[in-house]
């Protein structure tokens, strides 16, 4: 039992695998509602646009750091989330140095790069601290029922199609298709890869869309224009009429 507890704690201590991935831990930011996090994120991002003076930027940097580390995210997480911006920062500062020289270009370049970083950090915190379920609940309030159905059905099918893709890849490799990893990473091989994978995957998607739509319509969820057919008493007489008309036409 003690070993299990230690294992769980070590799992929580580990930085998550990918950038912007939800980090399962408990913090005041995690407990905050998704709407509040979006509002705080918008405020901080707007402040990043407006900040020009060094002391304002320094204050904003501290505020963002407080917001990020209050969510119990680690330095390793921070590096994973912001390493993309390191490249951006180098490009921007280099461009400023080339254009204005070291004396005039260093501060504006560094300021701009920092502003871009501060603009994106609140969004990163939102993704790191909000579970898919919470975001989905928030989205349901905003989207129409039909759009919600499409979005959340698609979300449900992400693992399904990932599995399908693996199975199709395996089947094509067994048939001799050159789909091994070293070949796939080069863009000039993507045409072959696409012809082996895309067509079966698209056919599978068409069939799954057909089946899923049929299943949803059978449960009363269909086109907006066909709302009348959802009235329970309406469907039965129509079917009876159809069956009686069929019976009249049928030679049996």
């Amino acid at each position: 039992m003690a070993r299990l507890k230690t294992y769980k704690e070590s799992l929580l201590r580990q930085p998550t695998g990918h950038a912007y991935q939800f980090r399962a831990t408990d913090s005041p930011i995690h407990r905050l509602g998704a709407g509040w996090k979006v509002a705080i994120g918008c405020l901080l991002s707007v402040a990043a646009f407006a900040a020009r003076e060094p002391w304002v930027l320094a204050g904003l940097l501290l505020l963002n750091a407080f917001y990020y580390f209050l969510a119990r995210l680690k330095l390793a997480d921070f590096w994973r989330d912001t390493r993309f911006f390191a490249v951006q920062m180098i490009i921007i500062v280099s461009l400023y140095l080339l254009r204005f020289g070291v004396a005039d270009g260093l501060w504006p370049g560094a300021r701009t790069a920092l502003q871009i970083l501060l603009f994106f950090v609140p969004g990163v915190v939102l993704l790191r601290t909000t579970q898919t379920r919470e975001m989905a609940q928030g989205l349901r309030r905003v989207l129409s029922p039909r759009m919600s159905f499409v979005v959340f059905s698609s979300l449900r099918f992400v693992p399904f199609f990932a599995r399908e893709l693996r199975e199709i890849t395996m089947a094509q490799r067994l048939r001799g298709a050159p789909l091994n990893f070293p070949r796939c990473i080069y863009p000039w091989n993507w045409k072959d890869v696409f012809h082996c994978l895309a067509i079966p995957l698209i056919v599978r998607a068409l069939k799954t869309a057909h089946d899923a739509a049929l299943s949803a319509e059978a449960r009363g969820f269909g086109r907006q224009t066909s709302c009348e057919s959802r009235v329970p008493g309406r469907l039965l007489p129509q079917r009876q009429e159809n069956s009686s008309s069929n019976a009249e036409k049928s030679p049996f």
Partner: protein, 189 residues
């Protein structure tokens, strides 16, 4: 299966959404799923800047080719943006939606100008390149709001969006052959 897909004339996006069958809407949602899956798969292994645009543009144009109607590609982009936000795959948080919707809007605009563009290599490459160049707009907007010098903005967005445009055009170039094969097998109208 082609007959099962409702043929519709190019109209407004609102009319398109009203006439869209559940099957078509789900198919467009699945195109968005493919965008998300390919982005997720590639970001683990590749670090070539802009490569994700290859698959994004491919599936956006494919959605528009399979479900003809103004708004199809935008719907794919919108769903892909929401999915990537829900799955924590975009650094901009809610801004990630914009990153997918803008290319979708351009693909739809391409469909209005040339309804059969998915059958032509030149039109596909053109639409794909312009659609992927919309990254230019998001970069420009962020840089401009921050107060960067105009000359530096221009250089920065050209560096940042050039590879996106190249990969987007390549992704769109694969569409005509795939659409032709789907049409031969009567899978799409």
């Amino acid at each position: 299966m082609a007959n099962e897909f409702q043929e519709r004339k190019t109209g407004s996006a609102y009319a398109f959404w009203n006439k869209l069958t559940l099957r078509d809407a789900l198919y467009l949602g699945f195109c968005a799923v493919f965008i998300v899956i390919t982005r997720a798969a590639l970001r683990l292994h590749l670090s070539v800047p802009g490569h994700a645009m290859f698959f994004t543009i491919f599936f956006l144009v494919l959605g528009r080719a399979c479900v003809p109607g103004t708004g199809a590609a935008s719907l794919v982009g919108f769903v892909a943006g929401l999915l990537s936000m829900l799955l924590g795959m975009g650094k901009g948080g809610p801004l990630a939606v914009l990153k997918f919707v803008l290319p979708g809007l351009v693909v739809d605009a391409g469909g209005i100008v040339c309804p059969q563009f998915s059958a032509s290599y030149a039109a596909c490459i053109g639409v794909g390149a312009i659609a992927s160049a919309t990254r230019f707009i998001t970069f420009f907007l962020v840089d401009w709001l921050i107060g960067m010098e105009q000359e530096v903005i221009l250089q920065h967005v050209i560096i940042a969006s050039a590879m996106n445009t190249l990969f987007g055009a390549l992704g769109a170039a694969l569409i005509p052959s795939i659409v032709r094969r789907l049409k031969i097998h009567q899978l799409i109208p």
